[in-house]
C-alpha cells in the first residue's frame, strides 16, 4: 500500500512537472506527419506509410531526448534530486517511475502520429489490419528501445555526451561490416523501416527487445546503485566541452542519417514493405517517377483497347482486374500536380488488357510491384536487379528477405550482387537468364509455364537487350556461352509452352543469319535470312558498338527495322567502318490474348 501510494505520488508529480513540455513536444512533432505526406508525394516516394514512419523515426530521438532530459537530466541540474533522495522512496522506485512515465510520454507523443499516418495512408495504400498491427508492434518496441537506451545514458551524467558520441561514431565507423546494423543499438532503434525487417515483420522484435532490456537494466542499475550515488557524483553543470560534445552528437546524427538514406524520404521500398496480404495492390506512383511514366504508357496502350480516356498518375490496380471499370478516382491537389488514385473494381473480363498493364509496369519497374505468392519472388529476385538501378540497394539483406518470404534458403536465390561484381551489370542479366531454369525447377515443374511467362518480360525487356547482346560477344571475357544462354531460354520457353500451351504462346525458334552488307561507299546495311516466316512484330535491332570498349554506344538500339519477310536488307546509315551488332527480335505484345516476348540471336556470316 505504501509502495503504491509512494508510486502514485511520484507519478503525479512527474506528470504535473512535465506535462507542458510533453504537450509541446507533441505539438512540435505533429507537423512531421504532414511533412512526410509532402515528401511522399513530392519526391517520387510511393508509400506514405514507409516515408512517414521513417520520419517518425527521425522524430523519436528528438522526443525521447526531450522527455528524458526533463525527467532525469533536469532533476540533477536543478538539484531537486537531492530533495527526492531525502524522501523515503528508494532510488529504484524513483527511477522506475521516471522510466515508466518516460515510456508512456514518448508513446503518447509518437503513437498518435503513427495512427494518423496509417489513417492517411489508407487513402492510397491498402493495408490489412494485421499488417498495421505488425508495424505498430515494431514501432512501439523501437520507441521503447530508444527511451530505454536514452534513459540509461542520461544517468551517466557528464559522461553521457561521450557515450552518445561513441554510439553515433560507431555507426559511421562500422557501417561497412555486413549485417552489423541488424544487431546494434541503432538497428533496433532506427532501422525498422528497411526492407529486411518489414519483409520479416517479427524478425526485428528480438533485437529491439534486447536493447529495451539492456537499456532498462543498465538505467535502473545506474540510478539505484548505492542509493543512486553514481549520477549524483557524475553530474555537474554543463561545461563548454559538454556543449561541444552535444553539438558533435548532432552532427554525427546527421551523418548517420546519410548512412541510412532511406530514412525519412519517400522510397521505392515503400511498396515492397507492404505485406503479401496486400497482394491486391499493384502500384502507386508519382507522375515524374519512372513508374508513373510507365503507368502513363500503359494507359496509352489501354486507350487503344478500351477507348476510355484514362489519365491517372497514381494508380492502384488490383491484380488481374479489369481495367475498364476504373472507378473511384481520388484526387489530391498538391502543388498543381495531377495526383489521382484509382481503385479498380469489377470482374476480370479482359485478361489481355490487364496483362498489358502488368507487362508494362513490370517491365519498367522490373516486376517488384506484384507480390503474387507463388511466383512473385522470381520477379523480385531477378527482375528487380536486372532493370532497376542498383545504386545503394542492400541486396544481401533483400536476398535473405526474399528467401524467407518464399520459404527458401538464402543460397537458393542467385547472388545477384556477386554476379554483378564478377561479370558486370550487362553480362549478369544474361547469366540471370540461365538461372531461370534452375529457379523454375525450384518453384516446381508444374509452375514452369507461369514462371517463364512471368520472367520473360522483366528479364529481357527492350532495354535489356544490350546486356543480352553483350553476353554473346566473342570478345567479351565473361566466359558465358551465348549459344548456351539462347538454348536455355528456348528450352525454358518450350517447356512452358508444352505444359501450359493455353497460357504460353509457343514462338517458333528462328534460325538464320544476319550480316553486314556494304551499301553505298560510306554506309553499311544489315541483311538477314531466316529459315521460316517471322511472326508478327519481329524486328531487326541494330546497335552501334564502340570499337575499343566493345560496348554499345547508346543505351538503346539506333535502328529498329520491321522484319516482314524471311529475308531482306535494311539500311542502317552506319559508316562503313563502324562496328554494329544486329539481332532479329520477335516481340509480339498480344498473341492469343497473352503477352509473349521472345527473341532470337542470329548467327553472323
Amino acid at each position: 500500500m505504501t509502495l503504491l501510494r509512494s508510486s502514485a505520488a511520484l507519478v503525479l508529480k512527474e506528470i504535473q512537472h512535465h506535462i507542458g513540455t510533453f504537450i509541446g513536444l507533441g505539438i512540435l512533432t505533429l507537423p512531421s506527419v504532414f511533412l512526410a505526406l509532402v515528401l511522399t508525394l513530392g519526391t517520387g516516394g510511393v508509400s506514405f506509410v514507409a516515408s512517414a514512419t521513417g520520419l517518425i523515426y527521425y522524430w523519436i530521438p528528438v522526443v525521447v531526448f526531450g522527455v528524458i532530459r526533463r525527467l532525469v537530466v533536469l532533476e540533477h541540474e536543478e538539484g531537486t534530486h537531492k530533495f527526492l533522495a531525502s524522501l523515503p522512496p528508494p532510488a529504484w522506485l524513483r527511477a522506475s517511475v521516471k522510466w515508466v512515465v518516460g515510456q508512456v510520454a514518448v508513446a503518447a507523443i509518437a503513437l498518435p502520429m503513427f495512427f494518423i499516418v496509417v489513417g492517411l495512408a489508407s487513402l492510397r495504400e491498402i493495408v490489412s489490419i494485421f499488417w498495421v498491427f505488425q508495424l505498430f508492434t515494431q514501432v512501439s518496441l523501437v520507441i521503447m528501445g530508444w527511451t530505454a537506451v536514452t534513459f540509461a545514458v542520461a544517468h551517466l551524467g557528464r559522461f553521457r555526451h561521450w557515450v552518445w558520441l561513441g554510439l553515433m561514431a560507431s555507426l559511421v565507423l562500422f557501417d561497412e561490416i555486413p549485417h552489423w546494423q541488424q544487431y546494434t543499438w541503432f538497428a533496433a532503434l532506427a532501422e525498422p523501416t528497411d526492407a529486411y525487417r518489414h519483409h520479416v515483420p517479427w524478425a526485428g522484435l528480438a533485437t529491439s527487445a534486447v536493447w529495451i532490456v539492456a537499456g532498462t537494466t543498465v538505467g535502473l542499475w545506474l540510478a539505484s546503485f548505492r542509493g543512486g550515488q553514481l549520477p549524483v557524483v557524475w553530474y555537474r553543470t554543463s561545461s563548454a566541452l559538454d556543449r561541444v560534445l552535444g553539438a558533435s552528437v548532432i552532427i554525427l546524427w546527421m551523418l548517420v542519417a546519410e548512412v541510412y538514406p532511406e530514412m525519412g524520404a519517400g522510397s521505392l521500398y515503400g511498396w515492397e514493405t507492404l505485406p503479401e496480404v496486400a497482394e491486391g495492390v499493384h502500384v502507386a506512383s508519382d507522375v515524374l517517377h519512372p513508374w508513373g511514366i510507365a503507368v502513363g504508357t500503359a494507359q496509352d496502350r489501354l486507350y487503344g483497347f478500351t477507348k476510355d480516356e484514362v489519365r491517372s498518375r497514381i494508380v492502384l490496380i488490383p491484380e488481374a482486374a479489369d481495367v475498364r471499370p476504373l472507378a473511384s478516382p481520388v484526387r489530391i491537389d498538391l502543388w498543381d500536380r495531377d495526383q489521382v488514385i484509382f481503385r479498380v473494381k469489377g470482374p476480370v473480363d479482359s485478361a489481355g488488357v490487364a496483362r498489358i498493364i502488368r507487362g508494362e509496369l513490370e517491365q519498367r519497374s522490373a516486376g517488384a510491384l506484384v507480390h503474387a505468392t507463388d511466383r512473385g519472388w522470381l520477379r523480385d529476385g531477378i527482375g528487380l536487379y536486372v532493370s532497376e538501378p542498383l545504386g545503394d540497394r542492400k541486396w544481401s539483406e533483400r536476398r535473405a528477405a526474399y528467401a524467407i518470404s518464399y520459404g527458401l534458403k538464402r543460397d537458393d536465390l542467385l547472388d545477384w550482387e556477386g554476379i554483378l561484381d564478377t561479370w558486370g551489370e550487362d553480362v549478369a542479366s544474361g547469366i540471370g537468364a540461365v538461372g531461370i531454369r534452375e529457379w523454375a525447377q525450384l518453384a516446381g515443374e508444374d509452375k514452369a509455364g507461369a514462371v517463364v511467362q512471368d520472367v520473360l518480360m522483366p528479364v529481357l525487356p527492350e532495354d535489356s537487350t544490350a546486356a543480352w547482346r553483350m553476353a554473346e560477344m566473342p570478345s567479351q571475357p565473361a566466359g558465358v556461352s551465348a549459344d548456351d544462354l539462347a538454348d536455355a531460354w528456348w528450352m525454358a520457353l518450350q517447356q512452358a509452352h508444352d505444359r501450359r500451351s493455353d497460357e504460353v504462346f509457343g514462338v517458333p525458334r528462328l534460325q538464320g543469319t544476319v550480316q553486314l552488307v556494304p551499301a553505298e561507299a560510306s554506309n553499311v546495311d544489315v541483311g538477314w535470312r531466316l529459315n521460316g516466316s517471322p511472326p508478327d512484330g519481329a524486328e531487326l535491332v541494330v546497335w552501334p558498338i564502340a570499337p575499343l570498349r566493345l560496348q554499345p554506344v547508346y543505351g538503346a538500339p539506333v535502328w529498329i527495322l520491321p522484319v516482314n519477310d524471311n529475308r531482306g536488307v535494311g539500311p542502317t546509315w552506319a559508316p562503313a567502318d563502324s562496328q554494329v551488332r544486329a539481332t532479329v527480335r520477335v516481340w509480339s505484345e498480344l498473341l492469343q490474348g497473352h503477352v509473349v516476348m521472345g527473341w532470337q540471336r542470329l548467327e553472323e556470316p
Partner: protein, 245 residues
Amino acid sequence: MTVLKTHDIYFAYGRHKVLNGLDLVVPRGEVYGFLGRNGAGKTTTLQILLGILVPGSGTLDFGGKTVRRMSPSLKQRIGYVSQSQHFYEWMKVKRLASFVSGFYPMWSQKDFNRLIQDLSIDANQKVGTLSGGTKMKLAMALALATQPELLVLDEPTAGVDPIARREILDLLRKVAKDEGKTVLFSTHHIDEVEEIGDNVGVLHEGELVYQDRVDGLVAFAREKTGKSIEDLEGAFLALVASDLT
C-alpha cells in the same frame, strides 16, 4: 534510552576518507547538537542516517533494528531538514505538502497547517518565490508534519536572517521541550548548541572527539588540552582547532 546509534561507521569519497569509525548515540527525547568545522563530515553523517548515502562499513541502530542503510519504512520515521532546500520551485506550498504527504503514513495535515500559520508561510505561494529563511521554515514544517520519531536538521540556521533564525530555534526548543521530540541538528554555531542542546557531539577529522552532555564539554576540553578554557567556544576550538587557541 537511545533513539539512534551508529556503530563504527566508515565513509569515504573515493580516496578521501570522511568518517573514520563514527559511534554516534542520540538519546531519546533530547536535543543533540552535532558540532564540527566545515568539511568535518557532519552533512555526510546526517545523509548516512537518512539513507541518502551508504556507509562503506558500519551499522545503524534505529527503531529497534540494526541496519547498514536506512530502509524506506525507517526513513518514514525520520524528519529531515537539509542544509539547502531543493524543493520544486513550480509547486505551491500546499502542493509540496501534498506531494510529501504521499510518502509518510503518519502525516498530519492539521499539524502542517498549524505550523505554516505559526511560521507565517502562505500555503498558496509558489515555493520558488520564498526566501531562503522561509524555505528553511517550510522544510521544518514539512519534517514535523510527518510526526517523526527523530528530527534531523543539517545546519538549519545557516544563511538565514536573525529573525528567521530566532523563529527556527524557538520552534526547535518548543518541539523538543513541549512535545518531547528527539532532535539531532548539525551546526557550527556553538551558541545554538548551548541554547537548545542537551547533548553535543564534536566531530573532527571523521571522528567524534567528544560526545556527552553539553555542560561537560568545557571540563572535558580543559582536561584534555590542559588549557584554561572558560566557555563552549573555547572548548570547541581547543578540540578541533588547537592551533588557534
